[in-house]
Amino acid sequence: MYVAVKGGDAAISAAHAWLAQRRRGDEALPELSPAQIEEQLGLAVDRVMAEGSCHDRGLAALAIKQARGDLIEAAFLLRAYRNTLSRFAACEPLDTGAMRVQRRISATYKDLPGGQVLGPTFDYTHRLLDFALAAEGLPPAEPEEAEAASATMPRVTELLAREGLMSRDIAGGNETPPDLTREPLPFPTPRPLRLQSLARGDEGFLLGLGYSTQRGYGNAHPFVAELRMGEVEIMLAPSELGFAVSIGDITVTECQMVNQFAGSAHNPPQFTRGYGLAMGHGERRAMAMALVDRALMATEMGEEATAPAQDAEFVLLHADNVEATGFVEHLKLPHHVDFQSELEKLRSIRARWQADRDANPLAEAAALEATI
């Protein structure tokens, strides 16, 4: 009996062997390769890279395979791996203005320099199950190729800023940016750390918070000034070189969200921006992040901060799904020592309660009367 509540070496090994078997599934079917996941479940890979804070499509695909498609578990695997890598430098700020755009839309202008580019999007698809996909082997229709836009596309927010209608973000100095993965979050939290935290935050949590700001919890009136996705160059300036060199391209999704601002004694009424950036193709994440980023500026802008999305401690300390899932799931661990002390405490309190009742039956009758 006593032994039954204890786990042991053998039980753990057997459980892990069973897990490996479940992962493989029916051996009559071909095994999935990480390369297939990388190519055919690319958006899952992108989400795992973002929440795992590590840009490596191959490793993210491997993590998804290992996690049996549980994307939070996959992000955790990638985080734990990332953590063992040494940090040797920070790259130059990404120039998303020079992005080689695959998709770029603005909701605030009908047309604009550079044009609207729909790109590979679910938007405007009819969400009808495509049974043709169930039959394998059919090649997809070849997309028509438009002439690649040669000119870089100016940012919409910059167009507004030139007119003074949009506040400018203050450019960071040359100091090394703070790193959320090396230092604990301070409160109040400077914006670079807020953005880092949101960039790796759980997509569902960000989505719900962003949504809440649209529904009156945070008083947002947002417009998508611009959403763009494509490749950007990573520039790194090694200290021994003294100038920046390109070390490769990555795909990112960027969202600039425009919000009204009533103005204050120091600042005229103008638009303000919320910013979202996601590794890979992650529009929902980038947009939700931009909404929450703007909501978190409430205090700095002298707005009344009453909604959950405007509360930095609430948002930033609960956005990380690796932390959240660990703590929620730790409730599976044995707690019988604590529970035992709760049992004894409850027995003690109940005994006192009963003794009081027995000693004073009139009070009991009065209490009964009061509840009627």
């Binding site: 786990g7 109040p188 690796v322």
Partner: protein, 285 residues
């Protein structure tokens, strides 16, 4: 806590005890600061570990930072060496640090624990490493860290005192049975981690060093040897450690903390020591 030779690492992909040396140094600095200010929570750059948050990552990082090749490690969960998470963490260090492990409290130089302090009195030179879920003792009364930091700075613990007063006024005794807050060195209110109140007195003037690691919350704190640790109470309602008023059905102990085991579906139950090493020792095993 001896010199580290990374070449000892059994799995070449990782440094001795998993963490890289720069990270260990960062954690050791936090530990030293924590020892210098008993009971005060020191923020540290907690890393993702290959075990989940909430499963002991704070304790694991503290252990990894202080572990040397000649240390003897004991890991317990709920007082027992053979509970699944204790097995898992012991396996982890056996794998990444190749250190000697033990189930004997007397033999261990480092004891990582979740929810218990061993029954056997600790000795000088031993280090207890506690896994801590919520390091802030006031979090249920004030969830905002910016505010609790201010309250600690002012030594303003009226929230906790009023809560205790209300508990006593309503139900005749304190409402907390485990994780009952303690005053350390007469200055800082501290969460002893979710140990049962029964274990709180063992923290007081202990010859061993007590280190507390909270990974998800990114805090380390400490109780140095021979430091006063008083459970929060009132003069007329002194703190009362509790245990099940039974004898252990295995070793007969009437003083150790007991687990209650449901023996059948007729309401039958037996009680056995939560501390498996203590129970085995008492039985002369």
């Amino acid at each position: 806590m001896n010199a580290i030779t990374p070449r000892n690492a059994p799995e070449n992909a990782y440094n001795f005890a998993y963490l890289d040396e720069a990270t260990k140094r960062m954690i050791r600095r936090a530990i030293l600061k924590a020892i210098a200010i008993p009971g005060h929570q020191i923020p540290f750059g907690a890393r993702e570990m290959p075990l989940p948050y909430g499963w002991g990552t704070g304790g694991i990082q503290v252990t990894a930072a202080i572990l040397g090749p000649r240390d003897v490690l004991k890991v317990i969960d709920q007082g027992a060496d053979d509970t699944t998470n204790a097995v898992s963490i012991r396996r982890f260090f056996a794998r990444v640090a190749n250190v000697q492990t033990t189930t004997r409290t007397a033999e261990a130089t480092i004891i990582q624990t979740r929810h218990r302090i061993p029954e056997r009195p600790l000795t000088e030179g031993q280090v207890m490493v506690f896994q801590v879920p919520m390091p802030e003792p006031l979090f249920k009364l004030e969830p905002r860290l910016a505010e609790t930091r201010r309250l600690h700075a002012l030594g303003d613990y009226s929230l906790a005192q009023v809560k205790l007063y209300e508990d006593i006024a309503k139900q005749g005794e304190s409402g907390s049975s485990y994780n009952h807050p303690v005053m350390v060195g007469g200055r800082y209110l501290m969460s002893p981690s979710p140990i049962p109140g029964f274990d709180n007195p063992k923290l007081h003037n202990s010859p061993a060093l007590m280190l507390f690691g909270a990974g998800r919350e990114k805090k380390i704190y400490a109780v140095p040897p021979y430091t006063s640790v008083e459970s929060l109470d009132f003069e007329d309602h002194p703190f009362r450690p509790m245990r099940a008023p039974q004898h252990c059905s295995a070793c007969g102990s009437a003083t150790s903390y007991l687990d209650e085991i449901i023996a059948d579906d007729q309401g039958g139950r037996i009680f056995v020591c939560s501390d498996t090493d203590h129970c085995a020792e008492t039985q002369g095993l």
